[in-house]
């Protein structure tokens, strides 16, 4: 049996490592894959309503950006300080539902109470080979420069499909509630990695 599996790995600057099997692509991801599979006319959308992070229905569909190419999930490579897309963390503990469209309680970018500093996103190139396995990895760093400790309970990933006619939206495609919370002390940094792997 072959499948796509995911792992969330969080490493604290103090050396502790937490690793979780990633379970929870949400309904939005199915919509996006469904849209990707359709050879529909550009810009039309295929009538599969995803929910953006503001709970507004958006079409999944093809697009044509004229002389400029864009990628459907464009872009995970969020810049420093961006907390609206790419990998995100939160403090919420509400169980995952397929209809989730945002983190339960997102942690905002900043240095105020309950805020963390979001680094620029990074990634390791796909097709990392190991026997029958091939994988790729997304990485982002979060620093707690707030006045107090912050407990990370949830991790998600927000994609940014783009269509030059109907716009660009922030779409949560996965959310996982961590089996064991990660307490990030003042001045500490965590490295969050999401690895996706197929196995032949």
């Amino acid at each position: 049996m072959t499948k796509l599996t995911g792992i969330i790995r969080i490493t604290k600057s103090t050396g502790e490592i937490y690793e979780y099997p990633m379970h929870s692509f949400v309904q939005n991801f199915a919509y996006m894959l469904n849209g990707l599979c359709n050879k529909s006319l550009p810009n039309a959308g295929v009538g599969t309503p995803m929910k953006d992070t503001a709970n507004v229905s958006r079409l999944a569909g093809a697009y044509n950006a004229g002389a400029t190419w864009y990628n459907w999930f464009y872009t995970a490579a969020a810049a420093i300080g961006i907390d609206t897309y790419g990998m995100v963390v939160g403090t919420g503990v509400t169980p995952v539902a397929l209809t989730d469209y945002k983190l339960d309680v997102p942690i905002a970018q900043g240095v105020g109470a309950g805020q963390m500093k979001y680094s620029a996103a990074s990634y390791q190139v796909g097709k990392i080979s190991s026997g029958a396995n091939r994988s790729f990895k997304l990485i982002r760093w979060f620093t707690n420069d707030s006045p107090g400790a912050i407990t990370v309970n949830e991790v998600g990933f927000i994609a940014r499909p783009y269509n030059h006619l109907i716009g660009q939206f922030n779409i949560l495609i996965c959310r996982d509630v961590l089996a064991v919370p990660v307490v990030v002390g003042v001045g500490e940094l965590i490295t969050v990695e999401m690895s996706f792997q197929i196995t032949a």
């Binding site: 872009t75 990634y123 997304l138 064991v180």
Partner: protein
């Protein structure tokens, strides 16, 4: 370094699942044979996924030519993505395709081993237009289907031993093999006048 917190480790299970099912019907539309299995996603799929998310790593098209996941120019006919539904009759460069060679799957497979061409002579099948469904959510699963029907008007029996999904990439007009599956011997026979219904179900589960 402190070891991984064992408490956080739970039984691993897929975050995306793909399953296949084939059914053969006779001239009277009577089901004569059915087989199912779990799907074998390939490197091309993983690399496309990486490309969708952030990366421009390369993968092989079905001619064994390297293509870059991000660098597909979307033109008016073939937008970027992994289009494998909504194409026409007779097309064997997009959607579900069948083959006759069940050599074991490897992650680096980039095409079916021995694809069955479209046609009505020899070892050929008539590929009808490919379809699929919209997403259906019934907690805890969201899923959709990619499907296709192939008719045997060749005059003889054709034994299907492999199946997969081909996708057409944007402006490069490259065909990539997203997945390949094999059917163990003796395979599935489609006699002359019979047809096969092939279905892939893609699902995510909370």
């Amino acid at each position: 370094m402190i070891p991984v917190n064992e408490e956080t480790k739970k039984t691993h299970r897929p975050c995306l699942q793909v399953a296949w099912n084939v059914q053969v019907f006779d001239k009277d539309n009577k089901l004569t044979e059915e087989k199912s299995g779990q799907n074998s996603l390939l490197v091309a799929f993983a690399t496309k996924m990486a490309g969708f998310l952030c990366d421009n790593s390369s993968y092989k098209d079905i001619t064994n030519t390297n293509r870059n996941a991000l660098q597909m120019y979307p033109n008016a006919s073939f937008p970027n993505g992994i289009p494998c539904t909504g194409y026409g009759y007779g097309v064997t460069t997009m959607g579900i395709v069948l083959g006759t060679n069940n050599t074991a799957v490897t992650a680096d497979d980039y095409k079916l081993n021995t694809i069955i061409p479209n046609g009505i002579v020899g070892t050929q099948l008539i590929y009808l237009a490919g379809g699929g469904t919209a997403v259906v959510t019934a907690a805890p699963v969201s899923s959709f289907i990619i499907d296709r029907v192939m008719l045997n008007h060749s005059g003889g029996t054709i034994t299907v031993k492999e199946l997969g999904i081909y996708s057409l990439d944007g402006g490069a007009s490259a065909t990539i093999c997203l997945c390949r599956d094999i059917i163990a011997d003796p395979g599935v026979d489609i006699d002359d006048g019979e047809y096969m219904y092939v279905k892939y179900t893609i699902s995510v589960t909370t």
